[in-house]
Symmetry: C2
Subunit: 398 residues, 2 copies
């Protein structure tokens, strides 16, 4: 074998491999640039553009008009073109520690930042993300702590008549260990799927960090797919690479709730769980809060901890399901058994705020105990990450 | 609890939730539209744009000039603006079944397709993908067959002094079963990581489909991170959301190869493997082919099956490592033990074609048996998906 090539040839090979392989060159500008002082600069190399804006949840909100009324949406800021044709915008003040989303708008065309490969899909849209470290930003970051594993796992659902996929977080030490763990079942909202909590929700990072700090018990977290018509997230089924939609059948008709014991049985059969009520929690956001409410009251011996995050508490008399029948009696049965924690959280700008207030009045009137957290903002992932961060430390303490 | 709201209110809630949450509206145009006749239309709603092109590997290649010479790169095609301001391009002929990548170029600015959430990162760039069904396209698709699970798993590497992450595919039936399985170790190329084979390589889909058709033995597939300086893929370590790079230290200096028994021990300790040479394979693309070559000859009793996919067979006398010493003697020792399969594949336009020819001459001169597959095209993922699809069925047949 000839031994004539040198390290220079190695690098040539690597570079030419990239030239053959990548459709894009490696970006030559840095965007976003997150500085130590927590200011951020966004950059886009677009010499031909007439106007470049950035929009994202790091900017003050602006009103969005919809057929259903005005809502707070992410704000916009203009980038300025420098002498090299690179557009730039720097935040005027330090940003609070947080995980933020943004996109560019170039001559009215929304586009992701080609210099930032970190993107998250939310239903049918993709945005870039960045993290301001410190405080909550650190909780959402991967830190140098022991890491749990995240698995995409298929299980059989006889009641829904299909194989279905869920996400399982097992805490550091699970693999290769012998201990048994409590389980948090964590449910997504409308348009979400089994990927939502681990991607948008940073669930693995939050749990890794809380557990490493001794603030949460080591636990398994199971993130199922709550759309009963769906096997798995878009792109992960035989339906192919179809556009995601919020308009799915069988999302809030009792099917998913009725099938839930299958999931618990699957997890208890295949993981080293503590298979008892005191070691099970269920929580969900929006539609997942609605599911958590109904599942926990339908199976009152299954979960000792219940979390309703911006829950879609929307009574609906047009949907016929045994799950939704006898609401008051089932709720009484649940609270007669004194759940260890019934926890409700919502933002003061959430369109579901009034529905949640109404539900709390019901609980108050009956003397059913619950804990309540009210935050700012509306129906957004920022709040749901906060709620998970606040809820998880309260679990499995009895 | 009041029961006054109806299904209409439900939908209103869902729509307004989306208005609060999403930065983008749901795309109203379909792109790409893959038709039954295998033609494809790309669309972009960009009334203000002056020129819109699509570039991707579904188009005839064009020459790219680099400081290192000319290479084949993806071609370009112009979209035309229709009366609604939507730009369109339809392929002139049906496309071969395949997984394709593309992006748009709007007035010289590369951007992903906002109507297509299916994107894959390749080192520092993100492209959209689509699949033409039939043939190989079906092999790369999620079909209605039993699915294996995919896990992101952390293990301790004492030799590299860090916790590191790898991807594990366990075949359908593993979860909840008792059988033991053979293991394929599948390695990525320069700039890749433990996500490359499961994302760009469609490894889970290929294995699911081959196993379901009875064309491959059920097997565990382990996809490690081959960058010895790195704990995990970009964004999955405490380095934060930094831009990915191909310029990593310790990629081909013997460190990863020397640490490899740690990975095999971890897998054999934590999974139901058949822990013997006849039930282990190792294969890799480009740098991963280089790693596979050296690991398999360094540990001649570990792997009975070896696959070199477009392998970076670049002898380098400037790198000092015991792994690379005594090449001829170690290769002899490996072939004296008669590996069940030594398999080499490369494209006829690959910049590593000559290096692979030279290596085959060495094997021929020594009378070391191997199988060889030569395809068209160069150093691209299309070939590596083909090579995995051809290699996996040959494994664990003895």
């Amino acid at each position: 074998m000839r031994k004539t090539l040198t390290i220079a040839a190695f690098m040539l090979a690597a570079v030419s491999a990239a030239a053959q392989q990548a459709l894009w060159g490696v970006p030559t500008i840095i965007s976003p640039e997150v500085r130590d002082d927590k200011t951020v600069t966004f950059r886009l190399n677009a010499p031909a553009a007439g106007r470049v804006q950035v929009t994202g949840d790091f900017l003050p909100t602006e009103k969005i008009k919809t057929p259903f009324g005005e809502f707070d949406g992410p704000g916009y800021a203009d980038l300025k073109k420098n002498e090299k044709g690179v557009w730039e915008f720097t935040t005027t003040a330090p940003l609070e520690p947080e995980l933020y989303s943004y996109t560019f708008v170039v001559d009215s065309l929304k586009m992701t930042d080609p210099s930032n490969v970190y993107q998250i899909r939310d239903v049918g849209s993709v945005t870039n993300v960045f993290i301001i470290p410190g405080g909550r930003g650190d909780l959402y970051s991967v830190n140098d702590v022991p890491h749990g594993n995240v698995s995409k796992v298929w299980y059989k659902s006889p009641s829904l008549g299909m194989d279905r996929r869920l996400t399982v977080y097992t805490p550091a030490g699970y693999e290769g260990g012998k201990d048994r763990y409590p389980v948090l079942y964590l449910l997504h909202g409308m348009g979400g799927d089994e990927n939502a909590w681990s991607e948008l929700g940073r669930a693995a990072q939050i749990l890794d960090n809380l557990i490493a700090r001794g603030k949460a018990q080591p636990m398994i977290v199971v993130m199922p797919n709550g759309n009963a018509s769906q096997q798995a997230a878009p792109g992960e089924t035989s339906e192919g690479l179809k556009a995601p939609t919020t308009q799915l059948p069988k999302t809030m008709d009792g099917s998913f709730e009725a099938s839930f014991p299958e999931i618990v049985n699957f997890i208890d059969s295949n993981y080293r769980t503590i298979p008892q009520k005191a070691s099970r929690a269920i929580a969900g956001l929006s539609m997942g809060g609605f599911h958590s409410l109904h599942i926990s009251k339908e199976y009152p011996d299954m979960f000792d901890y219940v979390g309703l995050f911006s829950a879609a508490i929307l009574p609906n008399q047009s949907v016929q399901s045994p799950i939704y029948a006898d609401f008051d009696a089932k709720l009484k049965r649940q609270f007669d058994r004194k759940p260890a924690l019934y926890w409700i959280a919502i933002g003061d700008k959430d369109f579901l705020y009034d529905a949640n207030s109404q539900f709390r009045k019901t609980l108050d009137a009956k003397g059913y105990p619950y804990e309540y957290l009210e935050t700012g903002d509306g129906h957004i992932w920022k709040n749901w990450r906060i709620y998970l961060s606040e809820f998880a430390p309260k679990l499995f303490r009895k």
